[in-house]
Each structure stands twice: as structure tokens, then as C-alpha cells.
Symmetry: D2
Subunit: 446 residues, 4 copies
């Protein structure tokens, strides 16, 4: 059976991931993501009403026109987890394919929100839930199966999809860290990966985000311990404490909520995206505090902040957006004194996030911290662990899967370099079984 | 009563700390340390046989000749903890003063070792044990007391000595982090610091090592959780694992021992300084595994490594010296293949330490890692937390103590700058109540 | 005679310089500058109509209230050169003093422009021209003289004022590099400095901007050679070339004009500040091309750019504002496609400037370059030399002046550190004859 | 005619360059270099007596065993310039091929020295001189010519060899910058490159050393102007001045000699490699001061330094080895006080070189500077320009040559990334006509 991999997006950058695997006549698409920075560099652009071709021209979503070179039928569109760089183009591209969208419940719910917000295109793709550990048959041949292997990432219910073919498995390994003690959900299923490795892996597509970083990405339990240490150290403080983190990072938000309560403060989640992700988590009945207050609309937020000021800042811990210093996010507006929440000398601001290392973010975050400092706030930053494998995780994955072919992804050439060095040291050869590639390429494996 | 502070050493560098406080006719000396880098830059120097004046000329030990300008009697020499930059010059300088050396038991034991190794000078100073929380009277006036307040640092039994005078307390605040969950010993005694603050603090001498770093230094429990995550992730590995850390870091060594056992490996401490510090900890009956094997002599080490190879590397976890890539340390010798312990492809090396950020160390560590990599070793580095306060710890200390005067220490001018900014933002004024100073100065407070 | 130095502004930052020297009953003020970054961090602030007290509260201009502690009469206000951090607060503060403003012709012309733009305050201070090398008498005592010693900086007609008193000279050494081959004007007058050194220097106030940088700041002739090399390398290019630099850097603008002509392109200076500084240079008849076209008003600029497009980009070299990527500057607007000038694939953009190393600038400049790149532009950056002494320049100045006292300025504590190390190595002692200080302090020298 | 490129060495690193081009039955080898860092990481290794296979195992010289897969006869071995990473393996590998070594006179002389020093192997390859601009016929087919195009680099007489085949030219573009005003020799022959481009280029192999650096590499004339500025600034200094630079950098050594004389000092070149390269330059009658004193042997150097001390340091400018702080180089030995030359407070040390950015070098250089500082020396560093193209040079080369295929070289994957981005933006496609490769690969072009 012929096996081809179309590396459509996310092979020259982090963002707008999209990969198609053809096995015989059947095609499965993994991820359809958005590169948000390509949108934000332009002033005043709203993507909801834009046409896909314009977004393709901006390099904001994958250029899926290469799909016409793949001969077969798309049988499934599989977003691997709910981050925008993996689901953010579904509303612009999925409607072109007569295929269901298959994902874990949390991811699927976020996809549904994306489709609801879309104004230009209508999609009638079926939405099919599948849990980690489950398998579904692909196409009519009875030879191809799609399996979801549980992985751990900075968002819950992330999976690595595996396409089982007669020629061996194709493992789409994007976006995970090797976490044996995640705060929500099961540990990464290394046992299953090793089993698949023994069965035979034709191709492994790997997330190279951190491939130039030494060592092992720590577990979320390490970030949780760090965060606990920080918040407990503030137990005696009787002024304002504000925290910010990635809205989609449900496990971190959960830790913030729990530690807030441990130090006798009421956590309140503030901001549209905070309410969006956490509200979804709550509805889906994951291991998340169901009784936490969330406020999404601007006007309600203002009222809530007013209430906090009235009842005493010392009784609350607002969890807000703005961890990158985004100019219009809640925390930055607080820093500019544009909200009812007043920061006083000595108030604490906790960034449970790392600055994404790019000068634009660094500049904005610097400004936000300066403004917070002008109000007297004290900054606790960098309380975080990455969601992506570092070199020793990659080493262990290769050891477990022993793939015949490797395709590095989720980076540019410079980002791939550490992975190429690693794979070369493990006996792979560039251009033979180690395929650095680019957007829009098709790799014939069989 | 006249109060003067002589800032003898460690006010233009990290290393060779020494400070004298005169209260009326009585003088107490805090620390007598060594700046090891000033020794190592010369080839082939052994300090044991050197004269203090030569070491002073090399800027390796404090120039205590300023002591002759202080009118009074030295009543005590108080090393605050067992690091060399605080006790390493005692064997060269203490014999000049007719005063006892007062320290916690673990620190005192290390001082005793220093005195035993000394070849040039003989010392007959009394050695007096005093525990954290205890107080002794100084001089004959009945007005001056010396108290040890428990603090937390990267070595056990660290204290901050406080000299209570009729004019208020002088708090010597060097070398601590604010740890509420240290792995060995009690948390930092913030309650006592706040009490002393309410009683009145004339002067606070503060450790500025990390004063330019934002946020809060994490607890040792965070490093422990990180280390646990790393070692547990290796549970299934059936080859060699080697770990290195600061020999004096008893709590870290303890964690290494415990996690080694958790993953079914026998920990063995190897190297003269490993045996020195851990042996002392064992003898003093601190909360440390008493049954761990330690080997200090070169020949025994070779034999032990041979035994490890014979019985199977997969059953052991050697804890060795060499975390900075020092050319003659155990780990570097292993990396060069100069020991019986053979590294194989895939073997793990765990650096539970951070590279001290100075080009010499960085170059040596880089070489060591290159050599380890040439043997196939996989590197896990930076599993560590600092032992020194960052900015928010400094903020909290000022809040607790509310001192009348502040003297930044344990850095150079550039290192002081973050502290000066912080103190200025809290209402202190450079040159009035915030005294940046230099080695060899005397500050008259009353 | 009593000599006091009031260190009013610019002793904790780069920006808002102001220093007063009292010699007996007479006071001379050196510089009254603006810290622009303190203004820009707020949205939508225009300083022209603001009150000085509000600007003081923002830390934007010097807090000159300490002047009331100096007993004497202000006899002169002496801006040393035309940069905003030295003259930008004159329009807000000078009117409070009954004293003339004394400066070199070019500086004085820029001061006049500042006073003309001011909307809140009216000033009737006399404006007195004095050239480098000249001296004027201060006060009625016949004992005090003010001399201008020629120095070299990144703006023309910079001087170091020297106040000669019976107690020795006070040399205000801000903002210079040691340039023996400046492109416009005379070399730095080291001979005079050495002479003054032999006569006796009571105090030297020094510009520490680059005091942590090793080596010697290169001459403007080195930047000129670098710029020549870059522009000549484009001689055969037949598309657009655009250059940007500091508007106030007359020597650099001159080089750009000359090399543009050498490669057969017509230089045109575009932008209000470009026209402002260069127009002033032209009027004052300095060694500057008198026949270059300058366009300052927005509408005329648009027309000029349209004309350039019509007549062929390959015939022109527009010199524009925007070297820091400022969002509203000409170059950034070109990069966004908001002007008639269209960039094509391969067009060259020359940044004859360095990014001021602060995250905000770095983020904006990064954005500007990204946008230029999206238009196909090729970037040549960092063609520049600093206007400030590095360590070896400081070493030479100390050697020449042999001052009794030194006051580091034009930096914060961290920035002073390299200078303190240098001065200490030359025998000065912190707190005795080496005075690190802060804004608002008064140092009594005699 | 079949055309193949064997990328033998230097495609995963900087160092040990070797490439073979097969055109029909004829093969030409470009470069046979040494990666010195792979030797130095081991203690006490001397390569002169070592076997090639051992050096291959150490990754120190190219693994030329892939040559057996190329069907044809080696007709020439062409070292492109005299740096060790291009000629350092000739003595170990050339004897295996029955082919002449063809190079420019200066390069050939250095090759001759390498062969003379070799102790393990004997070589009887013919040595053939060919000047830039000349062409020779390759093989018997009358269809293939080898041309030397003049380029500019940090060593004199560098060329880019071009193999003219019926299928188009193969341009071996390693190691050049685009210098229109080199200090010795002719400018880069861009006219010829453009001509070759018009005739048709099948393949361009390019030096990616600086491919991640923006802008244009400055001309040697810029470094010369910088150096002039530095040395002239010391004209009045009446103590010792010492300079160091790359021994092989004849143009820089020439500038040092000339400026030394301009400031009335006698230049003396000291050290074996200084004498080696400069002596060769002198013998070959290039544009180099023929009357400069050079001393190579250790004992003579000691005597010369003694003479300098006797006659007065202020009359000399020793030019010595040690620009990277190498532990046994002249300058480091001076810094340790191991030579008769005594450094005094204020003496100047000029590093006309940049630290090669690798932690080992950085550590050694840091040590050397520390030791120099302890003797009172003042440091002037970084007076240098790179010998390699930056991005805009690469852009111009692509514009001139318009090659059908591109092979990035002289870097690892991370180093290639900037070049891949550039080439992609110019319409090349990775894997199609843009070939990132590895050591030991063969690329079939026709």
C-alpha cells in the first residue's frame, strides 16, 4: 500500500500545523492551525470574516492546495488538542472536505466554538468524539485504523494520533511532554508507545519546539509545586494578589484556584478566553473545580472588579488574561489603571507563564511590567514549565518507537537542528530516513 | 553606645566575607571567608601552607588590617554557615584574635576540619556550639546579646546572627533564601524576624547575590520535586546513571540518595569533599540517611567504581564531584575515561547544580559535557534552585525588619544595583540610610 | 570658597540631566534634560502643554526643587549640546531662574526651537552664544570663570563646560567620545584637558553611559568608512535605497548625503525632525552640504515621495526617521505601505544607528524590520559608533585630569559599576573622593 | 555528462572541509581541512605522527572513504586558501590520490609547509601554482576547465574555484567576503561572477558561516580604519603596547606594522606561527613590509623580549600570538609573567580579533584578560571584521550567479537555517534545488 505524507503547514514555523497522511486511497488530516502572529503584525485585522485565500496569502493558515496532489479521499480531520495553532484554521478549511472531525471531547468542544464564531464559511462536517485509548476504522479497506494515544501537554485531553497501516504505523507526535504526574488526566501512555514501537513504526512526525533545549521537560507537578511555594509565601499578605496564565492551561488554572483557596482567597476567573476554556472544562466534567466563579463579558468584569474592591482585595485572587503583556488584555488594562481594580504598593502579580521569546512579546511584557511597577506591584514571573519535549524526551521517544522514518515538525530549520543532531547520533541519516522538509511538500514513504 | 560596622571583605565581590560590628567596647566578627577563584586563576597554588599576607595580596582572603581602627575587644568570631566563602579564611586569620568561634554544630565541625588542614598557622580559639534560636551574652556590659535566627540556605544549619544592642539590633543577613519547606531542618524563622523588626533594627546587612533577579527564590522542595521527576523518569533505564551536585548541599544529597533508592539503585557518594560534608552530616545526626556508602580516598574510589562495573552499573547511582566541570573532579575524569567506570551510549548524567555564571566555569563545564557526550552520555542539567534571596525575598525582609540603616553586601557595585533600586523604592536614601560600601570601610551608625 | 554640587537629574538614569555647581555665592546650572521614555510609556501624552510639576511627578524632567537648598544666585544655565536629554526641560524649568542660557551656536538654536514650541510657559532668559575654547566670567567676584572645552559627540558643537574656581576646576564631562578625526568640527581638545589637569581639578563629573564596555569608542571616521563601504557596495543596484539615522546626528547625515551623491543618487531628507536639525545646521553654516533637499511637513513629504516614484526610485536616496522602529515614524509607515514610496523585492534599507537596548525599542524595531521584510526589503543595520566614552576613554580622561573628586553620572547604579571599578583601580575610594550619588543630592566639596 | 557532488567534510560543522566534484570521468577535490577543536579537546595529542584513520575517528579530518563511490579519476586537489580547516588534512589524505595539488602561490607555500611537517605519511603529489583569473584544463575530454576567481577573505590569495562543465559551471564558493577595498590584493571579482552567472551555473556550494547574521560584512578597510583609530589614540603613550591577531591574517599584520611605525614604534612579529605566515608572505613578495623583524623560535623570542625591555618598551610594538587566550600562547605567557616582557600599569594590549564564540575559547580568553588586568594592562578588543559573507553578501551572490542548484556548506543545520530562509525567499525549494546535506553524501545533479 502506498503511503505518502503531505507536510502542509507548520514545517517552517511554530503555528498553522497541518499534515495529511495518505494510505492507499484513504487520507487522514492531522490538525488545521492558525499562526496568530501573522495576523497580529497587521493592524486591525479580524479573521472571523476573512476568506481562507487571504489568510493563506498572509501565511496565517496552511496552504492546503497541495491536497489536490494527493489521490484519495479524506476520511477524517483530526485535531490533536485544542490550541489555536492546531485548530484555528478548521473554520476556514474543514468545510472543503467531506469528512468528519474526530477529536477528544474537550478538543471537539473548542472546535465547535471556533465553528460557531466563524462568519465567512459554514461547515457541516460531522463532529465525532473519540477518547484517548480508543481506535476507529478508516475507509472501507478494513486495513487502516486510527488510534488515539494519550499524551500530556499544556492543555488537557491532548492525544497523539496513530494511523495503523499494513506498512506499519504512522505516529503523529506533535505537542506533548513526557509527564508521569500531570495534574489533570492520565500520564503519557509510554507503554502503548513502546508496544507500537515493537509492532513497527513506518514514520514518526515529531514536535521539535524545544529540540535545541537540553535535558527533560519537567512535569506539571513541578510547576504546581513552584506555584504552591509562591502562593503560600503570600499567605500573610493582606492586599491584592492577581495571577495570570494561559487561559487554555486548565491544569494550571486548577492549581491557581486550589492554592487561592488554601490561602483563604476566593479565586475568580476573568476575561472572555478564561471563561471560554474553563467553562468548557467545567461543562465536560473533567477534574476541575466546578464551583469557581468565571466572568467573561467586559461589563460584568467591571462590575466584578468593583465588587472585589468593595469587599476587600485581600479576600480574592483574580485570575486574568495578559500573561504576555498583550496591550488590550485585562492585566495590562489593570496596569494602566483602566479598570476598577486598583493596585497598591506591595500588591503581588503572579505570571504563571513564560514570555514567548520573540522581541514583540518581550517588548509588550516589559511595558506591562513597567506599568505594574509604577503602581507599586511586585512581580513573580516565570512560574511555568513547557508543554513540549526537550532533548531527553526526544531521545526516549526514539528509543520507544524505533521508527523507520522521522519527520521533524513544529519548527523552522534552525529549530530542527538539535533534533537532526540527536537523530543522527541515533543512526538516522538526513535525506534517507530523516526527512527535514518544508510546507507544501509530499514525502513518499512506500 | 557607639556602633560601628567594619565592612572588611565581600563588599566588592562574592567571596571572602568578613564584617565586624563594634558596640561600645565589644566587637563581634561575622564570617572569615575565602575567594577561591582568586586562588585558582594561578597555576599550582596550594593555600594550606601560605601566609595570610600573601593571600591578602592575592585578594583571596579579607584584608583584616582595618581591624586596628576599631577600638574594642573581639568577643566572638561567628561563621554563619559552612561555605568556604564564609569560613575559608578562619584558619588564616582567627588565631590573631583572642576570641572564641561560635557557630551551629554543623558549621563548627567544618571549621574544625579547616583548622585541622591548616599547615602554616596554629589556632587555639575556643570553639563554642550555639543552636539557631539561642542567645549568648557578649562582653561584660550585660547590654549586648548575640542571637542566632534560623534561616534556610543551600547548606544545613545556616543562621543569621543578630547583635542586640541598646541602640537596636544589628542583623547580619547574609546567605539565605526564604524557604518555608526546606528538605532538612526548620523553615526560616520569619516570625522572629518580624518580632525583631518590631523591637527595632538599627542596621541590616544584606546578601545581594541575586538582587538583580526578579521574583522569589523557590523552596528546596521545588528542586526536590524537579529532581524526583527526573530520576523517576529514568526508572526503567537499565544502564548507568551518575549524579553530581554541590558536596556541601546536604539536603540535595539526601534527595539524591532517597530517589536513587526509590528507583532501586544503591547510592554511593564518591570523592573527598562528598565524603567530608556528608560524613559530617551523618556524624551529627541530622535528618540524613545514616546508612549510605561514602568513599573519599582516590584508591578506594577506584576500587568502588570497579566493583560497580562488576556488579552492574544498573544497580547503582554514584553521586560524584564535578558539577562545574572542574578539570580534576571525578565526573570530568569519568568523561575522559580515566576511571574504571565506563559510560555507555544512553547513560544518564544528572547535574543537580547550575553553572556559576563566569566564563571560566562555563568553558570547563562545556568541555566536560562535550567529553561526556563523546562517550554517549545523556545530560540532565540545571536541576537546582538558588540558595539566595531574589528581589521579592528582599522586599519581604525589609517589610519584616523595617531597619533604620541598610548595608548591601555579597556582591559588587553592579550586583548591588537591584537592591539599591528596591530599597530606594521603599523610601531609603543612598548615602543617608542606605550604605553601599567597599572592602575596608568603617561605617559609624551611632 | 565653598563649592557644592547639586546632582539634580540623570544620576539614576540616562536622561533628564541637570546639575548645579555653587561656587561661593554663584551658581551655574549644567543641562536641563527630558527623559522621553517616561513620557512615551503613557498613551497619548503631549508634553508641550503640560506643567512642570506633572512632568516631575512622571520622572520625565529633573526635580529642581532641591535648588532651594543651594544658597546663591544662578548666573548661567549651560546646555552642553543639543540632545533632548540635555535641553528638553529648558522650556519647562529655565523661566524660574533669572539667568541667561549660554551655549554654542548650534545648541542655542535648538534651545530656541524648544522655547518656541512651548505652550505652557514663557521664558525671557537671555540667550548667549559662546564657542568652544572661549571663556566668560561668572558673577561679580572676578574669581570664577566658565570655559567651554571642545569635545566630540554624536551631535555637533558639543562642549564640556569647566567652571574655574579658586579651589580648582569643576569639569562637567558629560556626553563625549574621544574622537581625533570627527567628520565635522575639531577633534576633542585633549591638550586643554591635560593643561586643566595640571592646573588642578577639584571635581570631575563624568558620563558613564558606556562605563561597562571595554575598549575605546571608535571615531566617527570609522562609522563613516563603514557607511561608505555599505553604500558603495550598492552602487550597481537599480532599485530603491532608503537610509535612516538619528536626525540630530549631523555628521552622519552629511556622510549619507555625500555617499548618496557618490553613487549617483539624490539625497532627500524627509521628516520634521530631519528637517529641523539639518535645517539648523545649514543655516548656521557648519561644514554641511548646503544644497540638500529637506522636506518636513507631512503633505510635502507625500508629494516628494510621489515625485520619487515618478522619476524613478533608483535616482534617489531618501534619508528618513524611524531608526528605532517607532510606530509612527516615516520608515515604519513605509514598511506598512502607508506612503506613496513602494518598496520592492531587493530594495535596501540602511539603519545607520544601533537599537537602543531596551525591550520596548527592540520589539518595535523587530516589528518594523519584519514589515520591511514582508515588502522584500533587504536590511543593513548597526552602521554606527557610540557617542560616549568606553572604559579606555575614561582611563585616559582620568590620566589627563587627575581630579581630586569624581562624580559618576548619566547612568544608574548598575551602569556606574564599571566606572567605580576603573576609578578604584586608579586609587580613588568610594565614599571619600569617588561619589556615586542619586538625584536630588548635594555634595559639599569644600 | 553526469555531474555529482560528494560532500565529504564540513557539511555538519565549521572545519575539515572537503568536497569532490565528478564531471564525467574526472574528479576534482576542493579542500582537505582539519577541525582543530576535535584535536584540542583531548589532552596531549600531536597530530603530526597520527594515522589518518585515527583522525577520521576523532572527526578531526574528513572521512574520504566515500570517494570510492565516485567513479572517475581525481585530476586535481584544490585547496582554496591557506587556513587549516581547508589545508590541514592534505598531509594526511592527499597521498592517497594520484593528482597534483593546485593552488595560488601563497596557499601552495603553506601546503608545502604542512607536507614538510608531516611525520607519518609521505606525499609525492605535484604542486602546481595557479593564479586567480587563470584557468586550466581538467582531464582529457577537453570539455572541463578549472578556473580560479579572485575573492577576498581574511587571508591573502583566496580564490573560489569554478569547474566549467558542459552542463554548466560548478562554483565552489567557500570562504569569502565581498570586499571592494581589501588592504592587500585585488577586490572580489564580482564582474566575473556575474559573467559566469550569465553563462549558466549548475551548482553553487556556499559558505554559510555567517548566514544567520544580518547585513553586510564590512571591508577589511573598515577594520583597518578602526585599528588606525585605536593605535593613533595611543600615540602619546610612553609605555608598552602589545598587539595580537590571527597569524595568517597578513593584511591585518601589515596594518599593525604600518600603524606601529606611524606612531614611532618598531613592530616585531613574535611566535612560530607569526613568523611562519608572515615569512611566507615576505618571501612571495606580496604587498607586505619586507623589512619587518620576525622571531619564531622560543629562545630567540626570549632574547628579543629582553632586548625590548632593555631598549625601552616605549619604542616597540610586539605583535604576538594568543588572541583567543590560548593557554600556551605568547600573550598568555606574558600575562602570567613567564616572559622577560613586563607589563606595567597602563600598558595597552590590542586584540585585533574576535573571540570565536564557543565556551572553551570564551573561558580561556576571559582568563587571559583577567591575568593581563592583574598586571595593570588596559584591553582594546574586537578590532576586527569577519572574513565570511553575511546575509546581504549571500543575497548578492545569488543575484549574480543565479545557480540552478545550491548546496549550503561550512556550518551545521542550525547555521544553514538563515541561508535556507534566504534561498527560499529567492524561489529555491528545499529538497529540489536547495540541498542541505551532511558529511559523506553524494548529490547527483545531472
Amino acid at each position: 500500500m502506498e503511503i505518502e505524507i503531505a507536510t502542509i503547514g507548520g514545517y517552517e514555523e511554530v503555528g498553522r500545523q497541518m499534515t495529511a497522511v495518505r494510505a492507499g486511497d484513504d487520507i487522514v488530516i492531522f490538525d488545521m492551525g492558525l499562526n496568530l502572529s501573522k495576523v497580529l503584525i497587521h493592524d486591525n485585522i479580524r479573521t472571523e470574516g476573512m476568506h481562507s485565500l487571504d489568510l493563506i496569502d498572509m501565511d496565517a493558515i496552511p496552504d492546503d492546495r497541495v491536497m489536490s496532489d494527493l489521490e484519495g479521499d479524506v476520511q477524517a480531520i483530526v485535531p490533536t488538542h485544542g490550541h489555536l495553532d492546531h485548530i484555528g484554521a478548521i473554520s476556514k478549511l474543514a468545510h472543503r472536505y467531506d469528512a468528519p472531525i474526530v477529536a477528544t471531547p474537550f478538543t471537539l468542544e473548542l472546535v465547535r466554538d471556533e465553528l460557531d464564531d466563524e462568519q465567512k464559511f459554514g461547515s457541516d462536517n460531522d463532529l465525532i468524539e473519540m477518547e484517548a485509548g480508543e481506535t476507529m476504522s478508516i475507509g472501507d479497506s478494513d486495513e487502516i485504523d486510527l488510534e488515539f494515544v494519550n499524551v500530556t501537554h499544556s492543555i488537557i485531553q491532548a492525544i497523539n494520533p496513530v494511523l495503523h497501516t499494513p506498512e506499519g504505523a504512522v505516529v503523529y507526535g506533535l505537542d506533548k511532554r513526557m509527564d508521569h504526574t500531570p495534574v489533570i488526566g492520565d500520564p503519557i501512555d509510554m507503554e502503548r508507545f513502546r508496544e507500537i514501537g515493537r509492532e513497527g513504526v513506518l514514520c514518526y512526525i515529531e514536535d521539535c519546539t524545544n529540540a535545541n533545549k537540553k535535558g527533560r521537560t519537567p512535569s506539571e507537578s513541578v510547576a504546581r509545586e513552584h506555584l504552591r511555594d509562591v502562593l503560600y509565601s503570600m499567605e500573610d499578605y493582606d492586599g491584592g494578589i492577581v495571577a495570570t496564565t494561559f487561559s487554555s492551561h486548565i491544569a494550571r488554572v486548577k492549581s491557581l484556584i486550589e492554592f487561592a483557596r488554601d490561602i483563604d482567597r476566593q479565586p475568580i476567573l476573568l476575561g472572555r478566553s478564561m471563561e471560554g476554556y474553563s467553562g468548557t472544562a467545567k461543562r465536560l466534567d473533567v477534574d476541575f473545580p466546578s464551583d469557581v466563579e468565571m466572568v467573561g463579558y467586559r461589563q460584568s468584569i467591571e462590575q466584578t472588579l468593583g465588587r472585589i474592591m468593595n469587599e476587600g482585595k485581600e479576600n480574592f485572587l483574580p485570575v486574568v488574561t495578559g500573561h504576555q503583556g498583550e496591550p488590550r488584555a485585562m492585566l495590562t488594562r489593570m496596569a494602566r489603571g483602566e479598570t476598577p481594580y486598583e493596585l497598591d504598593e506591595g500588591d503581588k502579580v503572579v505570571f504563571s507563564a513564560r514570555v514567548i521569546p520573540e522581541p514583540t512579546n518581550e517588548g509588550q511584557r516589559y511595558q506591562a511590567e513597567k506599568l505594574l511597577g509604577m503602581q507599586g506591584a511586585r512581580i513573580y514571573d516565570d512560574i511555568h514549565v513547557s508543554g513540549h519535549l526537550c532533548q531527553e524526551g526526544h531521545y526516549e521517544m526514539l528509543d520507544a518507537l524505533q521508527p523507520e522514518n522521522i519527520i521533524p515538525a513544529h519548527q523552522n530549520m534552525s529549530g530542527f537542528s538539535g533534533y537532526v543532531d540527536l537523530a543522527s547520533s541515533q543512526g538516522y541519516t538526513l535525506g534517507r530516513d530523516l526527512h527535514t522538509t518544508r510546507n507544501g511538500n509530499i514525502i513518499e514513504l512506500v
